[in-house]
């Protein structure tokens, strides 16, 4: 691929930038100079964050490491303690005290003039805020899974396309060598024709029972945290643990879809399509407020005959990760730089010049910045991420209804099942409304 922005080139380039940046009295986004959203190599990207909890903070740190390439100017969160910590971090990196803080993303998007925004929020907020950022024509680094429902996902994909922004999903495994190598071997037929894929995601959380209702801590804007989700009393569960409650997440199944399912699609050439038939079973907790499945086992069939099983890792022979089974063998990849194959020789195969060379990135956050500069798509573009999470969301619908779901990946709709179709979206609590497609 043509993405040649190697680390060394970049460092050379940015050496000049640093000198220049001190001269500027104020950070003005490149877009303000009428350059569209293309940023000259000599300019740093003006960037901010919405959601600076665990993953949001982690992404911010990764961007701050690229300090010659970005200029952090503002952060937004509904938790004032998160906000204060994020501001402190940014100010420390910038050696000033200029980082602006917001408790409401609307004000943040309205007032800040940004080249890019990093967004890491509970899934139930993704539809509204991803679309809003795209509609402001700000390039987005957005956390996976990109949506809580398929309809939200469609709205996000459309908003990104309509506004012609650069999108990068936080599916950072794509920027690691073993996943890239595994996918590239597979897409070039090194295990033959792919018949079956196994995707192992983490086992579910056992639960915490039902903690008592508590006063909302002063630092947390609970009403805003809930946003479009149904109002529930505060029981001390918000940050991080939202992923065990169906109103905000589908559990490990949806949380990890943007990793190992995404990688599975990459290697099998399924990035721009979806399954045609989905069935599945799940095991749910029988007490407590955590209500996502603790176990799940989903089988997807594709129009080209490929089958994909997605299950919690303990159910699968190779556990976590992605395993592509072809008619000549298999390749398995997982975190921890793991790559293995039915025959070790497969792993030594050289990919010829005329074969498929998958998009290569060595730093997921750098790749986003490079894309914003070049205008070329990032390694985890929005539609591809929508296809990855769709597998998990359709699986969730199959488990919920107990039915085999028929999906039309072209029209992106469930066929012949009005009940299941209702689960493609979630009603939003007023005054919030679903993003329009």
């Amino acid at each position: 691929m043509a993405n040649k922005s190697s680390r060394r080139d970049f460092v050379k380039r940015s050496a000049a930038v640093v000198a220049g940046a001190f001269v500027l009295p104020q950070i003005i986004p490149s877009t303000a100079f009428g350059m569209g959203r293309r940023i000259a190599p000599s300019d740093r990207l003006v960037i901010g964050s919405i959601g600076v909890g665990s993953q949001g903070m982690s992404n911010m740190m990764d961007f701050l490491k690229l300090k010659d390439a970005v200029q952090y100017v503002a952060v937004c969160d509904v938790d004032s303690l998160h906000l204060a910590k994020a501001k402190e971090t940014v100010d420390h990196a910038n050696k000033n005290s200029d980082c602006r803080t917001y408790g409401d993303y609307r004000e943040f998007l309205e007032k800040e003039k940004l080249d890019a925004v990093s967004i890491a929020l509970p899934d139930h907020w993704h539809g509204i805020i991803y679309s809003a950022a795209a509609n402001k024509k700000i390039n987005v680094y957005g956390e996976k899974p990109i949506c809580r429902t398929i309809k939200d996902g469609q709205a996000i994909v459309n908003a990104v396309k309509k506004n012609n922004i650069i999108w990068q999903t936080g599916s950072w495994q794509r920027s690691l060598a073993n996943f890239h190598r595994g996918a590239e071997l597979v897409i070039n037929g090194r295990v033959g024709k792919i018949k079956y894929i196994e995707v192992g995601l983490p086992d579910g959380n056992k639960g915490i029972g039902t903690p008592p209702v508590k006063p909302v801590p002063a630092e947390l804007n609970w009403e805003m945290w809930l946003g479009p989700a149904l109002e529930v009393p505060y029981r001390g569960v918000s940050h991080w643990d939202w992923r065990w409650i169906l109103d905000y997440s589908g559990g490990q199944l949806t949380d990890w879809a943007g990793h190992h399912i995404d990688i599975a699609n990459w290697g099998a050439g399924l990035e721009h399509t979806g399954p045609v038939e989905i069935s599945g079973t799940g095991v749910y907790p029988v007490e407590g407020i955590f209500n996502v499945p603790v176990e799940y086992d989903i089988l997807c069939k594709y129009a080209n005959g490929i089958e994909m099983r997605v299950a919690n890792a303990s159910r699968l022979p190779l556990g976590m990760g992605t395993t592509w089974h072809g008619d000549l063998g298999w390749v398995h990849v997982d975190r921890g730089d793991i790559i293995s194959a039915s025959d070790p020789k497969i792993l030594n195969e050289v990919i010829g010049e005329k074969e498929i060379h998958l998009y290569k990135s060595e730093n997921h956050w750098q790749n986003f910045i490079d894309s914003v500069r070049s205008g070329k798509p990032a390694i985890a573009p929005v539609e591809v991420s929508y296809r990855a999470i769709s597998v998990a969301l359709l699986g969730e619908i199959a488990i919920t209804t107990g039915q085999t779901i028929k999906w039309d990946p072209e029209k992106e709709e469930i066929t012949g099942n009005p009940n299941a179709t209702r689960l493609l979206s979630r009603p939003y609590r007023q005054p919030w409304t679903s993003p329009t497609i």
């Binding site: 303990s314 009940n419 009603p427 609590r429």
Partner: protein, 403 residues
């Protein structure tokens, strides 16, 4: 008029035929009469558990007492599709042994239950059918130990006794093969009720798969610190054998036999032994790693029982009654009439002034996707209930396709 009689006749015939279809099918024989366990308690429970599925018609046959004339024990095994061995005692006659082996070779199904794997230590074919056994002076001459260590299956040929168990306790059963018909859809880890965990079993272990293991923790006394096999499947000739080491029986069956996990795996294993497949749904109350589920009457909770209880649900309580309803919902797999019947029962709870707000909230979530026009008037009324307004609007929005 004539047509009407014809219809009634037709309906009658249909009922008759469908009843036939559901008549207990596979003829099953439980063999007992001698055991170091309370077989008088366990055998009727095994019969009840199997007949609960509607798949088996079960007869219990007892051998002569210890020291009795085994020649008189001469059943015609070929009349049965399944033999359940709840026996640990004197050797059978050679004729009976041969008939048993022929039966299995020709495709007969067998369930080896708990101490049945202690029986007949010298009968080679029987030990090939059980795969692994214990006690009765079994040792290295009888075959290797099989267990999991660090998630790897180990065939250990070292010298030593065959068969031991620690104190009775709850233990976590871990499914090792999740795509076998017996274990398909079961949790990978679930707690089993108070039982002996058979350990250090050894045997020929040919044509055998270990479906599930449990860790023999030494803190409870006598543990091997190994993941010991508790559920196994073996093939012998054309026959299929399901082997469960669980289900130690005391008076009245013992707590281990009340465990929904023991019951379900026995029911599924028995069906697989007969047909090679399992058609039974995983019951809603199958235990998880979080806790043991006992069935005092060996029966799965019915939908009516669940609805009788669901109106009392509060958020701090177990959602087991809702789980039962959800599980039933899923088993309907989209059957419209079935869903409507269920919807009517759910609406009845919504109308019930005694039913809790929390129970109504739970049911509203389900109705949001499976409800029909039938629910709408009642849900409309709930909009004026301050505590249920949000949920009611959520459901109406979804039912009316506004979201």
């Amino acid at each position: 008029m004539k047509n009407r009689y014809l219809l009634i006749l037709l309906a009658g015939l249909l009922t008759f035929f469908s009843a036939c279809k559901h008549m207990p099918g596979y003829k099953t024989l439980i063999i007992t009469g001698q055991n170091n366990h309370n077989w008088k308690a366990s055998s009727p429970v095994l019969k009840q558990i199997l007949e609960e599925t509607g798949l088996f018609s079960v007869k219990i046959m007892t051998t002569p007492d210890k020291g009795g004339d085994m020649k008189t024990f001469d059943p015609d095994f070929s009349k049965y599709r399944l033999l359940v061995i709840d026996y640990n005692g004197d050797s059978w006659s050679e004729k009976t042994n041969n008939a048993f082996v022929e039966y299995v070779k020709n495709g007969g199904g067998v369930v080896i239950y708990h101490a049945a794997d202690n029986s007949f230590p010298k009968w080679k074919e029987y030990n090939e059918m059980t795969g692994l056994g214990g006690w009765g002076d079994r040792n290295q001459k009888d075959g290797p130990y099989l267990y999991y260590k660090n998630n790897q299956l180990v065939r250990d040929t070292s010298a030593g006794i065959g068969g031991s168990h620690g104190k009775r306790r709850e233990f976590l059963v871990r499914t090792r093969i999740t795509d076998h018909p017996i274990t398909r859809g079961l949790p990978v880890a679930w707690l089993h009720g108070n039982d002996e965990l058979y350990s250090q079993l050894r045997g020929p272990a040919k044509n055998m798969q270990i479906l599930a293991t449990a860790f023999a923790d030494s803190t409870a006394g006598g543990g091997t610190m190994r993941d010991e096999p508790v559920l196994m499947v073996i093939t012998y000739g054309k026959g299929r054998i399901f082997h469960t080491t669980m289900g130690h029986s005391d008076l009245g069956g013992g707590p281990s036999m009340h465990c929904a996990g023991f019951i379900t795996t026995l029911q599924r294993g028995a069906e697989w032994a007969v047909t090679g497949d399992v058609t039974q749904k995983v019951p809603w109350d199958f235990p998880s790693a979080a806790g043991v589920v006992f069935r005092p009457r060996f029966k799965e909770m019915t939908l009516d029982e669940a609805f009788d209880n669901i109106g009392n649900y509060e958020i701090e309580k177990s959602t087991k009654y809702l789980s039962c309803i959800q599980s039933h919902l899923r088993s309907l797999a989209g059957d419209e009439q079935g869903l409507l019947n269920l919807e009517k029962m759910m609406v009845k709870v919504l109308k019930d002034k005694e039913a809790t707000v929390d129970s109504k909230k739970l049911l509203l979530r389900e109705l949001s996707w499976m409800g029909s026009d039938y629910s709408v008037p009642v849900i409309n009324e709930l909009v004026s209930n301050a505590e249920l307004k949000d949920e009611a609007e959520f459901v109406l929005s979804r039912l009316q396709g506004k979201n």
